[in-house]
């Protein structure tokens, strides 16, 4: 029996509250949503898992990561390569090397392999990244993003580049992704409130001081980095297992900025912030996209305004940074709000 600390127990309360919100949104969509809305909400949940994976490293170590979409891509492609039936791979990847087209595995094993591959890659990269100072580390993560993307584009015999990698069986539905997102929330909260998480956050506030107290900052950063990568791989798998087709484009800069904006708006220091930011931007952007198409509102025929969603996204980042750099939640998790209101 693992004994949880006081902060972890209050973390579990917070996680339970967030889980309740996730379940309500999921169930409501499942029963009342159209096919389109289910797809939309599903992708919001996938992005939520991405943002949570991002939060584990960025929120605790406070180093900006720009490579998260690449790790999501690695997870998605690895799982897709394993799970897609041979007969489809023979058609879509006729030139695949190393016998990649000659086998297929069940979804669970495929996911496990994808997670292990992503984790090992993240570990090897992490050995270097965690030793760098903040901007240097950010640049290397940027380099990782560019390199991984270039590999996806270049090895068309394996990844099909910007063309669709199709034929992935649809394994997951909305229920699955809600469950996995809840699991991710719990993991993130438990890590945040664990001794490691607390030490890591302390070292982000005062690196020299924490080191003087015996905090092994590189080790802790590495743990957070790999844990984040695993969660990102899971997000990639959820993405591939629902859509059935993937391509390199969604795992590049646009997605990096989108998910960063979500985390920043909600507040990168807390898991609650990650959840809040993801839903605000997911649903907010959907509204803006509607405006983009030039609808008729209140009898006024609005012009088509391509780019409006991008402007909104950028503005969210700029305004958050200017007015409230720690995001909406700041350092507060959901249960502290609840407690304050109750008493």
């Amino acid at each position: 029996m693992i004994r949880l600390s006081q902060s972890q127990r209050s973390g579990l309360v917070g996680a339970a509250l967030l889980a309740a919100v996730l379940v309500v949104i999921g169930v409501a969509t499942l029963y009342f949503g159209s096919r389109y809305q289910i797809r939309l909400v599903y992708s919001a949940y996938v992005n939520l898992i991405v943002v949570l994976g991002l939060q584990v490293f960025m929120g605790n170590a406070r180093i900006t990561n720009l490579s998260h979409s690449a790790f999501m891509g690695i997870g998605a492609y690895a799982a897709a390569l394993c799970v897609t039936p041979e007969n489809i791979k023979k058609i879509s990847l006729p030139a695949a090397p190393w016998g990649l087209a000659d086998f297929s595995l069940d979804p669970v094993l495929s996911a496990a392999i994808a997670i292990v591959i992503t984790a090992v890659l993240a570990f090897l990269l992490g050995l270097f990244i965690v030793r760098l100072t903040s901007i240097g580390a950010t640049i290397v993560t940027l380099a990782v993003l560019v390199i991984v993307h270039a590999v996806f584009l270049y090895r068309t015999d394996i990844f099909k580049g910007n063309q669709a990698f199709f034929g992935i069986p649809q394994v997951f539905d909305l229920g699955w992704v809600v469950g996995i997102a809840i699991l991710a929330v719990v993991v993130c909260r438990l890590f945040r409130e664990s001794r490691w998480g607390i030490q890591l956050r302390a070292s982000a506030d005062d690196e020299v001081g924490a080191a003087a107290m015996g905090v092994q900052i590189y080790k802790l950063r590495l743990i957070a980095w790999v844990l984040g990568a695993v969660i990102l791989a899971v997000a990639g798998i959820c993405y591939a297992y629902f859509l059935g087709t993937i391509s390199a484009r969604p795992f590049y800069f646009n997605h990096v900025f989108l998910t960063l904006a979500m985390l920043i708006l909600g507040g990168m220091r807390t898991v609650t912030g990650a959840v809040l930011g993801t839903f605000l931007i997911s649903f907010g952007l959907e509204g803006v996209r509607y405006l983009e198409t030039g609808p008729v509102l209140l009898g006024i025929d609005l012009p088509e305004a391509l780019g409006l969603s991008g402007i909104a996204l950028g503005a969210v980042i700029v305004l958050t940074m200017a007015l409230r750099p720690t995001g909406i939640m700041g350092n507060r998790e959901i249960e502290t709000l609840f407690v304050r209101k109750t008493f």
Partner: protein, 298 residues
């Protein structure tokens, strides 16, 4: 031998462009720790200014070029006032993310109000013609670009050494508060840094446009990504480092183009970034980084 010289000159002109842009990033970073990712959009502002001149049927190349540079400088100043002033004292991460946000906003403003597609600008084609010296074939544009960069570096050096404001900019990279304590207005120092940064972006814009002949919302993204890398490699915040990083990156890129087999052509960027990552792992603060002290005062 001629081939080597030819490629060396190519590397020089590649490097010159990166050095121009990297200097623009470094001068802002040195005084406020801001990694200005929106620098690329400043270049695009210059490009769209050329489009505007074309639309007004103003073809005089001097006016077009001066207009683009001035527009870039004004845009840079405006960004400082509107977007970066609130995060002036914030940590580098906050600044970096703000700059990302600004960059996204501007790209989409171009997309929304001008066009998502490239617009041709032909007024600067005249800058580019082939020349041949002693059997070495060059583009005139490469020569202009390298010369301009050299002139700019010398001028910048003179400014930073001979004028009070230049001294203040250098001193501010070490201790901004102390600069204020000599009575120099902080706003003037920031404005000057962004003005110079915009000027450099505007000059780079002329060369980029003369070569590409078109502008689209993402015009500046790739060049600035490279310049960013050059800065990091040279040592962020170090002006000599930015120049060194720029030319080094130019050399690496040309070497990649020459040495990588044709089949790996698509991987040039990947290799460039890999080398960058390796340099950073070797020297985490860049090659010519200014010393940074962690911890408390004495």
């Amino acid at each position: 031998m001629e081939y080597v010289i030819q490629q060396g000159l190519n590397a020089l002109s590649f490097g010159a462009e990166y050095a121009l842009l990297a200097l623009g990033l470094a001068i802002v970073f040195s005084i406020m720790g801001l990694v200005n990712f929106a620098h690329g959009e400043i270049i695009a502002v210059g490009g769209y200014t050329m489009v505007a001149f074309a639309a007004l049927a103003i073809g005089n190349p001097v006016i077009v070029m001066a207009g683009a540079v001035i527009a870039a400088m004004l845009a840079s100043l405006t960004l400082e006032r509107v977007a970066f002033r609130p995060v002036r004292k914030a940590d580098p991460t906050t600044g970096l993310l703000t700059a990302f946000g600004v960059s996204i906003v501007l790209q989409n403003v171009f997309l929304m109000f001008v066009s998502p597609r490239p617009i041709a600008v032909t007024s600067l084609y005249f800058l580019d013609w082939p020349i041949e010296i002693a059997g070495i074939r060059l583009a005139s544009l490469q020569v202009f670009e390298t010369l301009t960069t050299i002139v700019v570096i010398v001028a910048l050096m003179l400014f930073l050494r001979r004028t009070v404001l230049g001294l203040a900019v250098r001193a501010a990279s070490l201790d901004f508060e102390m600069v204020r304590l000599t009575g120099i207005k902080a706003n003037r120092v920031f404005a000057m840094a962004f003005l110079i940064s915009g000027l450099l972006a505007g000059l780079a814009c002329i060369f980029i446009m003369a070569r590409r002949g078109s502008v689209d919302p993402h015009l500046g993204f790739d060049p600035v990504l490279k310049a960013f890398v050059a800065c990091v490699v040279g040592g962020f915040g170090s002006l000599p480092g930015a120049v060194l990083g720029g030319f080094l990156l130019g050399a690496v890129e040309v070497a990649m183009l020459v040495m990588l087999p044709q089949s790996l052509g698509g991987m040039t960027d990947a290799f460039v970034f890999m080398i960058v990552a390796l340099i950073l792992i070797w020297r985490p603060d860049g090659i010519l980084s200014p010393a940074i002290e962690k911890g408390d005062k004495l």
